[in-house]
């Protein structure tokens, strides 16, 4: 046997896989959550055709960076600045409140992670190649060792050169292993860099989302309180106005009776001069004038309607400010989870900026306007304002109406009034005679405050009053 029997130089076999023991596994490139390729906030800008960036853009528009980060930016290499400018392109055009979402989108920009991933994948391929080479060398070494042994036994000369060849192959293998170690270190370094970045980024994002969740709960609670106070204010205004109306009506009733007394005094032959000086008439005239004057003055002093409008305005303003925070929490989670933005979302209606006085309108589509109802010759609205009823009778009548409407149905009707609670909440005594129009407003205000007001209840209140007026 000659040296011709030597195995060919180790080369990477194309199909046949080496059977030598497995070398340490190259760490797998960790899975990175799928996120939109470009932050959604930037996509819009791309559509606007401003994707082309210039270094000046970020140099001149770095106002969104803190002074510390600006300092870092100015110390960066030109290449780093260019890349940063590319990443931040369009951020300055995002409105202030949404800028944080844009920044999060940039941090979750897939290209940052992809760069690491590509590098890691490149090293991994290199590593796979080295593994195959090492395995091929291992196979050759085993074969040569076996040949050396058999040549020695057979006494074949020149075995030493074969042994030298073996040594050379072992040296080459050592070099490959060194290369492999080096590549493995590069993969690990790359993976660690990627992990460090994604972990830190996730930590910042999670902390932000956690804080948001932590703060939004008390915020919603306070906004609920404000809504409750608003309803309470509405009810207070309605009840106070109803009481004022009742007091005006009572003063009017007294005036009417006084005029009858004056007429009777004329009847018994008293002159106008004598009537004016008549003690009872004089005292009553003074009191009625005083009462009306006081009522007018107090109404002006209280100025409930103005105060109510101011309160509504304040609450609407603070409530409207809550919407961007609610939306941002959703967007943070969406960017973090890489969910696509849901398009054509219906705009949230709650907390729209207050624009003037709110009006209570119970007009229902397809239903005749309340003011156009007539009973006989008088409109319902006029009769609602004129006819008066004791509050306690109104409550009982309303409950009876609801019961009758419910018929034999044993299920308690939604809207049945607890008289005690109703009188406590409205601060009414029960014996005051209020006009139907005010009673209706109070009832609607009460249900609103109790969060019980429904379209059906509103309709029922209207129908109940209509029936009462017809009676």
């Amino acid at each position: 046997m000659s040296l011709e029997h030597l195995p060919p130089s180790p080369s990477v076999p194309e199909e046949k896989k080496p059977e030598v023991p497995e070398v340490p596994e190259v760490p797998e490139v960790p899975e990175v959550p799928e996120v939109p390729e470009v932050p959604e906030v930037l996509v819009e800008k791309k559509r606007g055709g401003i994707q082309e960036f210039s270094l000046d853009a970020i140099r001149n528009r770095d106002f969104f960076l803190s002074s510390e980060n600006q300092g870092f930016f100015h110390k960066m290499s030109e290449g780093g600045k260019k890349l940063a400018a590319q990443l931040y392109a369009g951020l300055d055009r995002i409105t202030g409140v949404k800028r944080i979402v844009g920044k999060m989108g940039i941090a979750y920009n897939q290209s940052l992670v992809d760069h690491h991933r590509k590098k890691a994948v490149g090293f991994k391929s290199e590593m796979d190649g080295l593994n195959l080479e090492v395995k091929a060398f291992d196979r050759s070494i085993i074969e040569i060792q076996s040949l050396v042994e058999s040549f020695k036994q057979e006494g074949v000369p020149d075995v030493e050169s074969l042994a030298l060849k073996l040594k050379d192959i072992e040296q080459q293998k050592k070099y490959l292993l060194y290369q492999k170690d080096k590549t493995q270190s590069q993969i690990e370094k790359r993976v660690n860099k990627m992990k460090l970045f994604t972990n830190e980024r996730d930590r910042v994002a999670d902390r932000l989302i956690d804080h948001y969740n932590e703060k939004l709960e008390p915020m919603e609670k306070e906004l609920e309180n404000l809504q409750k106070y608003k309803d309470q204010t509405d009810l207070l205004v309605v009840v106070t106005e109803a009481k004022h109306n009742e007091q005006i009506a009572r003063l009017g009733g007294i005036e009417k009776q006084k005029r009858q007394c004056v007429e009777a005094l004329r009847g018994i032959g008293m002159s106008e001069k004598e009537i004016k000086k008549f003690e009872g008439v004089k005292a009553l005239d003074e009191f009625l004038a005083q009462g009306r004057k006081k009522l007018k003055k107090e109404k002006q002093n209280l100025n409930l309607t103005k105060k109510k409008a101011e309160i509504n305005q304040k609450i609407a303003k603070v409530d409207a400010k809550a919407n961007p925070y609610r939306d941002k929490r959703e967007e943070f989670t969406r960017v973090k989870e890489g969910r696509p933005k849901e398009m054509d979302m219906e705009t949230r209606q709650r907390g729209q900026e207050f624009e003037g006085e709110e009006t209570i309108s119970s007009h229902i589509r397809g239903q005749q306007s309340e003011s156009s109802y007539t009973t006989g010759e008088e409109t319902v609205e006029k009769r609602e304002g004129r006819e008066r009823l004791k509050t306690s009778s109104f409550v009982s009548g309303w409950n009876t109406y609801l019961q009758e409407k419910n018929g034999k149905n044993k299920v308690p009707l939604n809207g049945m009034l607890d008289k005690k609670d109703f009188l406590t909440v409205t601060r009414l005594l029960g014996d005051e005679k209020l006009n139907f129009k005010d009673l209706k407003k109070i009832l609607i205000g009460y249900y609103n405050f109790k969060k019980m007001l429904t379209k059906e209840l509103k309709e029922n209140i209207g129908n109940f009053l209509l029936e009462r007026i017809k009676v």
Binding site: N69, L112, K215, L265, L302, I311
Partner: protein, 91 residues
Amino acid sequence: MTTHQNNTNNQSTQAINSQLADLLNEAKKVDQEIDETNKEASVEMTDLEVKIGESIKNVEQIYSDLDQIEKDSGDKLDKLVLQQAEDLASE
């Protein structure tokens, strides 16, 4: 005027006077109720205004906290992104 007529007039005057006195009492009652209504409304409105003021203050504080958290987080994210950009560019 006869004595009988005088007596009748006196009785009528007394009756009217009594009716006017009742009306005066009723007017006084209304006057008192006006005072009570206004006092109650004023107290309740003041109470509500205080509560509303406190709630608005609390909500504004939450907004301010959230703004601060956003700013801190935004700065941290910027730092990370800039570091990454520099890191990637230097390779």
